[in-house]
Amino acid sequence: MATGSVKLLGVWASPFVNRVEIALKMKSVEPEFILETTLNKSELLLKSNPVYKKIPVLLHDEKPICESLVILQYIDDSWPNGPSILPSDPYDRAIARFWASYIDEKWYPLVVEFMKAEGKEEKAAVLEKISEGNLLLEEAFIKINKGNSFFGGDRIGYLDIVLGSLLGWVKAIEMMDEMKILDETKMPSLAEWDKRFCSDNVVKDIIPQPEKLAEIHRKFHQMKKATSN
């Protein structure tokens, strides 16, 4: 059982930070949350993550671990007595890692591209690519869950955390642009999973409401405009 201080550098609105919060809660570990401000990076952040200078950073006994997917696996390795985050079978682990990588490197960047795209036509073009990805994820979910409620089985696991953490922002973007990214008719299984994930006891107080995220986004952009004038 790992001992020592556990600190998490982050902001509550970051889905990548939320991932770490969920994982720690699964292991019944309560970190000291050190709030970073997005506009001015703290000395601690720059010292703990000199390579990327980004949150989340987990500090375990003052030793920094960076990159959310690395942190999730670290948490699983360090607190082996709590519920497992990654599956136990090596092949299932490889599949989970594969889809986590797909989500972070292909799918979510498209969602961000969608948010930044200007005009309905540009947005529609990106949305088509996202929809292709959605179908892949729907297929993957059906294959991986083997009839259970979550990617991780009857309890949330690695892939649930990786994809689920992004749902708040996806829904916030849907609100801001008044366009559907997650179409329940095309991804019915994931639509049901979405509801189950967001209402899960471990998750529900961690992922912020989409309305709050949309507000944060508006405020952040107003602040940026003001400081650049």
Partner: protein, 220 residues
């Protein structure tokens, strides 16, 4: 594991394919290597990696594992009795995963830009590349390998790129030895291992290959 069927879908100059060659060699796993023609991908490749359609793909008893870092970790977990690549300590494991990810996120792109761009863009790519090498030198520290006394996860993830250095240096007009001698010492140390020496292509062949690609992309 006597009845294992292991197939590697590969392409000889791929530094990602090299990772799996080295890992399988370190673990003394017998496997069949299938060379892919990337301009004419085999039905097997398209079936085994429908999402990315890329090599390398490890096929273990008919089941595909895609993405090289994920496949190396799989190899380490399945054939765990020989030559462990990831350390046992959770913090050291996290560091190894972090650096493998850094190599994929930063290093590959900057190297690629050296031979695919010209002028200012190329100069910027060179600067980035050398900076990456210095960051990696920092991570290596005084250890003989990233893995400590033996070849480890990060060494396996990184060393394949060394076969491309001659091409990078030729087109970028710089010397890695002059800029980052510690890195070159590490690379040569890795090359002394059979598993590495047998898995990396000849650097002149790689240069020829890059020449062909440059002509094809009209970069010349």
């Amino acid at each position: 594991m006597a009845n294992d069927e292991v197939i590697l879908l590969d392409f000889w100059p791929s530094m990602f394919g090299m990772r799996l060659r080295i890992a399988l060699a370190e673990k003394e796993v017998k496997y069949e290597s299938k060379e892919e023609d990337l301009r004419n991908k085999s039905p097997l490749l398209l079936q085994m990696n429908p999402v990315h359609k890329k090599i390398p793909v490890l096929i273990h008893n008919g089941k595909p594992i895609c993405e090289s870092i994920i496949a190396v970790e799989y190899i380490d977990e399945v054939w765990k009795d020989k030559a462990p690549l990831l350390p046992t300590d959770p913090y050291e494991r996290a560091q190894a995963r972090f650096w493998a990810d850094y190599i994929d996120k930063k290093f590959f792109d900057s190297g690629r830009k050296i031979w695919t761009t010209k002028g200012e863009e190329q100069e910027a790519a060179k600067k980035d590349f050398i900076e990456c090498l210095k960051v990696l030198e920092g991570a290596l520290g005084e250890k003989p390998f990233f893995g400590g006394d033996n070849l480890g996860f990060v060494d396996v993830a990184l060393i394949g790129f060394y076969s491309w250095f001659f091409a990078y240096e030729t087109y970028g007009n710089f010397s890695t030895e002059a800029e980052c001698p510690k890195f070159v010492t590490w690379a040569k140390r890795c090359m002394q291992r059979d598993s590495v020496a047998k898995s990396l292509p000849d650097q002149h062949k790689v240069l020829e290959f890059v020449q062909t690609l440059r002509k094809k992309y009209g970069i010349e």
